[in-house]
Amino acid sequence: MIWVIHVLNGIAIGMLLFLLAAGLSLIYGLMKILNLTHGSFYLVGGYIGLTVMQFTGSFVLALIVAAIIVGVIGAVIERGFLRRFHLDELPQTLLTFGFLFIFADLCLWIWGGDPLMVRQPRLLAGSLPLGDFSYPYYRLFLIVIGLAIAGGLWWFQEHTRLGTMLRAGVDDAEIARALGINVSLLFTLVFAAGAALAAVGGVLAAPVLSLYPGGDFDALLLAFVVVIVGGLGSLRGALVGALLVGLLDDFGKAFFPQFALFTVFVPMALILVVRPTGLFGRR
């Protein structure tokens, strides 16, 4: 039974990682922007969710409001700032790095320095008994919602017009533009969607990981590990990478505790050696 729990747990954490990494990966895939503000989107989303929860008590509302507000913030950052440095990687990365610090300070200012825990919805508060052990319902819910979002994103990418345009943009933005696709609008939409996805991840992660100053950097680091393992720009890569990192992290910590600090990074290093572009990355 102990194995079942470790596997479940690896998948649940993997799903959180997927939500974090998916947006980062999509944005890089389309716009070639290494968006360091992604960590802020996650943390700000979590904090907004917390505030909404405090006022309304509704977890669903928290998810929606956080996604919308952070999505709009993302759109503003893309339209107002990043656009000026199109395809100029260094200024773009530095700009997103600057935003990361600004948001970190804003969060500290608004929500203070204490780590804050978001209560999970009451419906999901208990835990499922499994023999001598038990497993929290909320984490089972994470697995379900993570798979649902992954499925939804895949369907969107493969079966909608916007998704087709997105894939065209990822493959070759110039040609896509020449074919009459409004790449400019696509950029803003994808950036906003990526930000909203990170915010949803923040709200969903908050009852497990808590919200604290510095959580943005931690999340960013994990998201990077996932996209490096999975390959930048690939949704499938983000999913497989996230599950792999989640499971390896759990089993590593449980069975090789002396390497707990490296359980996430050793697989990353190994994969970089064998496949420098990640599992599903393209050159």
Binding site: G113, M117, P213, A254, P257, Q258
Partner: protein
Amino acid sequence: MTNKKTGPFGVLRSVALTCAAALTLGTSSLSAQAEDTIKVGVLLPLSGNFAANGQQTLTGIKMYLDEIANSVAGHKIELLVEDSQGKPDVAVTKARKLVERDGAQMLSGIVSTGVALAVNDYARGAKVPLILSGDAGGDDLTVPGPLANPYLVRVSQNGRTVAAAAADFAYKKGWRKATVIGSDYAGGVDTIYSFALAFCRLGGQVTQEQWPPIGTSDFGPYLTNLDRKADAMVAFNPGADGLRLGKQYSEFGLTGKLPVLDIYATIVYEPNLPQLGDSTLGMYSSLLYSAMIKTPENERFVAEFKKRMGYLPSNEGPNGYVGMHAIADAVKTVNGDLKDTPKFIDALKEVKFSSPKGDIKLDKYGMVIQSMYIREVQKVDGQLANVPVATYNNVDQFWPMTYEEYESYKYGYKDLKGQLNDCSKLLAKK
């Protein structure tokens, strides 16, 4: 050609040194002015993982200053606060800035032991009084040895006494087997080692040790692997980790199955209690303070702290408050004359007063002698609080041993990580 010995960075380094020297020379004349104002440099993490600890320490410091209206025996006290971010390199830079540019006459605060070690080195070299009043609990700082610093006193806490009190309580409670879970850094290993040693001395044993890294977000693997035949889980996971461990402990259905003894109250930290809710009821913790101590000093302190922060104080607020009290008393003793640093340090070591923490005095090494409290989470007037259920008075840094006994053990915490279940090793003499 660059010099072979110093390598290509030799030139760079000498340029940097020259600049640094120029900076020091240029500023030393500045710090000589403003004689009647005592400038206290405070280094605390106001951002990062330990921001909450820093904020509360600062609140305690300011509370005492407000009480004495920023002045003692006619000398104005000015606070110069810098954010150390909990990082040793940042802290040393800020310490230099405070002393060499802003004219701070002493340094105080400090939450992380790593920061304390780095700043200790600087303070010893620069002969600046360092009054530790934050969480920094590295035992070696106040024990004769390579780290000893004649310009250092500590009025807050050290790692081992709180752990030793926990071990004593655990044994008296009838527990003989403990599974320990401690943050994987020097302070964590030191604290858990101190518990294991004290527990072995009494006849108990650690049956399993787990070391999650600092910043562990998911404790699932550790909680699943927990030795359920043990009598209690003994934990030390400071910062946001404690909050997550506490939350996940109840989520994994362990509440009521395995009692919790929380060294330093890292889980049942006061700001965490309302967030964790009733699942904390009955958790034990060991600390040098409880907001529920029934003395006039403490009741007054708690009321004011709650007004400022909105929740009950943990150890940081009182530590900062006591630190500022000690500084003020010592300034009064030397009548504001801080030029004779050894005299000021002696005055610090002589301070003796009643505080929210209980009665305070210092030993000859400059380490505080105070009370230890075992607390249990109970509901008081509908609010969760850590209520003292056992008190140990007059606990010095080697308690319940003497300095000689403390020094007689062959292995230290650095040698025994991973072997804490072996009492014969822990108890081996030199």
